[in-house]
Amino acid sequence: MRSLVLRIVKQMLHDKRSLALILFAPLLILTLLYFLLGTSSYQPVIAAQKLPEPILSQLEKQDIVLIRADDITDIDQYLKEKHADAVLSMSGSELSIQMLEGDSIKTVKVTDAVKNAMQAVSGQSQMKVTFVYGDTNTSTFDSLGFMLLGILSFFFVFMISGVSFVRERTSGTLERLMLTPIRRSSVVLGYTMGFGLFAALQSVLVVLFTKFVLHMEFNGSWWLVLLTMLLLAFVAVSLGTFVSIFANNEFQVVQFIPIIIIPQIFFAGIIPIDTLPFGLSILAYIMPVYYGSMGLKEVLVYGNAFSGIWWYLLMLCGFIIALFFANILALKKYRAL
């Protein structure tokens, strides 16, 4: 088993591209998403229509561009022509914010500014937000970060371990390996540990990077985040290996991505699964990424401790163990014993 791990390490160190893919590609994509979805210095343009003076003066103190536009006749048209990101008006005693669409960053910035102004005036912040297109769904890097961490690391580890294992088969080295007196369990363990090592390194890098470079908000302890990431990465290694047994070449491993990876993205927290129709939510329970990202969400967003996520971690361990035995069985294909 140790010789297998050692060999995989040596191979990976020579394969600089795969190494870069597993270690740095997730960081690169996280950074990109951070800028795409995250905090930006953008100042939203807010048009105020017939608002009381105290609110106006408080709004002017916010980090926005304020236009006094008492003469708007058609608010929808005004927004469509992009004169402003939002139009504020009074409907009865309630403040109404109207925006073109539920754009994550602008929505958050506008509502935050208005909330602050309202609170400064009256101590309360009742308002109604409506959009020309879409609804009040907001998504930012911080609120979806948990999901990105899980799915990104899972994806890259799955790819590398799947392709490497299929290469081991197509090159004939697996059959040769299986004709030495090595136990099947040692082969699976060696593979899991060998790639697991790089997967673990990736998890550490991703966690440190998101915490210290991207300053993602960690409401819970970082070691619980790391633990969840590690378990998820090990599931990815085992799943990659398992899937590659059913693939005849590298391209066929890639073909598993739409089947194995993409559905998991949808069940990783992008869509609240309890809103899914036809009992589809039950599918989430067979998806490792679901447990991984729910665990990460509990820690990162809700700040829960181990007691809050042990169930998710247990399920991830279950996947690792089940896949371990499935892989041992599947290897029978390459040696009759």
Binding site: Q11, G172, T173, R176, L179, T180
Partner: protein, 238 residues
């Protein structure tokens, strides 16, 4: 080690690859498996190594029914393709397989150096296998098969793509091993190699057509050359 093949059959998805093959190879015998591509040579070799199970019949090595874990450690196998890790060095390949055969430390280091020298790879041993030529890869593959001093050697077309001088040297090594009592099974479709074997088994369409010493088999041909053997197999004239 004595190899006994009794009434072995194997088919893949309904297509018969081997049909009722019986054959025995004595300790220290060098047997050539001859036959055109698709005759069933590789299937028979995979059955002997235990990579696959026969549908019917049985294979025994030293009285042990194959597949058997205890035989794997004493068997050297060289597959038709190179089956090497190209992104590590030749020496690392040899050492990796050595460890799988339970070799460790100085024993492994000495034997690895010895076998790489024998195969003429001493100077290139630290190069990545990806940078090896076709012949070098073949030699490395053979080095791995011989590394743990197996008592039975199963070689699937070992000298394809190797230059004549080296081929001569490799065959010399086979004879040396044979004289030490190693049982050797070599599959080949190279004519002049068949002539070097002590005994030969001819396979065609999954059937064992003929089995005997090479001179015996050649006596059945009009002019006594190996090429004729192959033609006669095709024409079903043996």
């Amino acid at each position: 080690m004595k190899l006994e093949i009794q009434d072995v059959s194997k088919s893949f998805q309904g297509k018969i690859a081997l049909s009722h093959v019986s054959l025995s190879v004595q300790s220290g015998e060098l047997l050539c498996l001859l036959g055109p591509s698709g005759a069933g040579k590789t299937t028979l070799i995979r059955l002997i190594t235990g990579a696959i199970r026969a549908d019917g019949g049985e294979i025994k090595i030293e009285g042990k029914r194959i597949p058997a874990m205890s035989i794997l450690g004493q068997m050297g196998f060289m597959p038709q393709n190179d089956a090497l890790y190209t992104d590590i060095s030749g020496l690392d390949n040899v050492k990796f397989f050595g460890r799988l055969y339970g070799m460790r430390g100085n024993v492994l280091n000495r034997r690895a150096a010895e076998i790489l020298r024998l195969m003429g790879l001493e100077e290139e041993q630290n190069k990545l296998v990806a940078h090896y030529s076709g012949g070098m890869k073949k030699r490395l593959s053979l080095a791995i098969a011989l590394l743990h001093k197996p008592e039975i050697l199963v070689l699937d077309e070992p000298t394809v793509g190797i230059d004549p001088v080296l081929r001569q040297a490799i065959w010399q090594e086979f004879f040396t091993l044979k004289n030490k009592g190693v049982t050797i099974l070599v599959s080949t479709h190279v004519m002049d190699e068949a002539a070097k074997c002590e005994t030969a088994a001819l396979l065609y369409n999954g059937k064992l057509i003929a089995h005997g010493t090479v001179p015996e088999l050649l006596n059945r041909t009009p002019n006594g050359n190996v090429e004729e053997l192959f033609f006669m197999v095709e024409e079903d004239a043996l």
